[in-house]
Symmetry: C2
Subunit: 322 residues, 2 copies
Amino acid sequence: MPELRQDPLSGRWVIVAENRAARPDQFAARSETVVDVCPFCPGHEDLTPKASAVYSGDSSIDWQVRVVPNKYPAVELNASGDRGEAAIGVHEVIIESPAHVASLTEVSATEAQLTFVAYRDRLQTLSKDKRLAYGLVFKNARADGGASLEHTHSQLIATSTIPADVQYELAKAGEHQMLHGNCAFCDLIDGELDGDRHVFETDSFAVFCPFSSRFPYEMWVLPKEHCESFETTTDSKLAELAELMQKLIRGLEDILDAPAYNYWIRNAPFRLSAHDDFHWRIELTPRMTRLAGFELGAGCFINPVGPEHAAAELRSAIARVV
Amino acid sequence: MPELRQDPLSGRWVIVAENRAARPDQFAARSETVVDVCPFCPGHEDLTPKASAVYSGDSSIDWQVRVVPNKYPAVELNASGDRGEAAIGVHEVIIESPAHVASLTEVSATEAQLTFVAYRDRLQTLSKDKRLAYGLVFKNARADGGASLEHTHSQLIATSTIPADVQYELAKAGEHQMLHGNCAFCDLIDGELDGDRHVFETDSFAVFCPFSSRFPYEMWVLPKEHCESFETTTDSKLAELAELMQKLIRGLEDILDAPAYNYWIRNAPFRLSAHDDFHWRIELTPRMTRLAGFELGAGCFINPVGPEHAAAELRSAIARVV
């Protein structure tokens, strides 16, 4: 049973999930489980737990996007703590296409769009469960991005607690609101839209490399109009977002050779109180640098590519691939 | 010039050090610099900056351990901030042996001992520089551990600011002292010495897997006797510690095949104020899991091997290799 444990001196949280040691890993030499059939490919649906949701934009295809419970969950609704707290939650996998490809850029526009619809729908559904307080959607692409299976997929981990980082940010956003009378993120977008860290924009979304980028080519994607929770996003905006994300990742893949990457949605908690303020965003980053002794020992990142230079390169790359 | 940048909402610190993009990387396919001679091997001393210190236990050998300024520093004493703060500091490399080997377990007992003497001496020297507030010694071994050169080496980054994580821990240790009248770490050792997370002990040091281990087989090494700063450690205790560290890493190398690993010294700041309390430790961990979307998005780790099981495996492994 997975457990939540907190270090009393650092405040750091860890999920101890021993069942995950058994999961197959196509990339790791250390894996004890050989994967010769892809459990995410059509025809192998029996290798995953029963789907929580399926999506298809074409009535002749069973599914284009398929959401299934994670077979090796980091959290469980019926978890019970042994030495730590019970790690209560839901862990799902969003399979982004029937095609066995490694990146969101290789799925069709419809599949990308349905993937983002699935993110929203699952967050909406899980947000109604009173046992759950937060839902994190994230994607690990390629081995250095932390993927253990190649077939393009995302994950959703919903937990009964709000991550400490999100709580901290909520408090800081609240302070900004009190001091300036504005949303901290709306102000951030205003400051970045014309600056040298600006990367791209669409009707509804702004993209820039943040001032304190942890990673080379890290990008943040925010809705220009104030919006607290990702799960309130309309179908048409999700289509715009899916197209934008494919474009940004194509830009990364133009600069770097088949880069490992991650993205995750920094969303509001499921039930914001009346005085809370938030503004969701996606953080997208290729994984070129390794988090090593300095990062772990000091809790500080070293980024060898300044965000101003990264943004300039990304603007050119995106112009080339569009 | 390297800069320190802080994200206003997360409080997260980043060093933007663009000069580091130019450094050679023997492991990364993306490296633009081909390394055909090892700059850390004897005879190639001219490929590194002039040594800050050299050590030899044998008068017929020029050096067994060699400390040099990092050619691609993440911090510099003469840094000036452009958009962020200046990232002021000193970045050194400790070459642990003339032999071109990849792990601390492959150097001689004398070389290991002199490596730990070098850590202490350099921290002692740098602690006298009023511009510097903290010194972090860390080791990245093998590619997944973040090493860019194979030849076994450690690093020391001294900074003009105390890392936020260390400040937080200092405050928590102070609270514990106020509430319980004891050092938080002395109490921690007492609680772990007889428990099922206990791994090993010597006359002066205790080793256990911490309750909220972030990584499989993570170990903490602490002096049993209360001791605030690593740089006050005597030669004889450093010899005991070096032998212990080689033993622990041999244990890891018995369980795992040539594992990438990191260790770092969580030390007190250079100048503790009268009411501060600390107790240094080494954190040692192999790098089997990847920090990916969930860890980055939630600030929470997922550990598939519980520390109680890890400690049992480590006890057996260390008994085998001793």
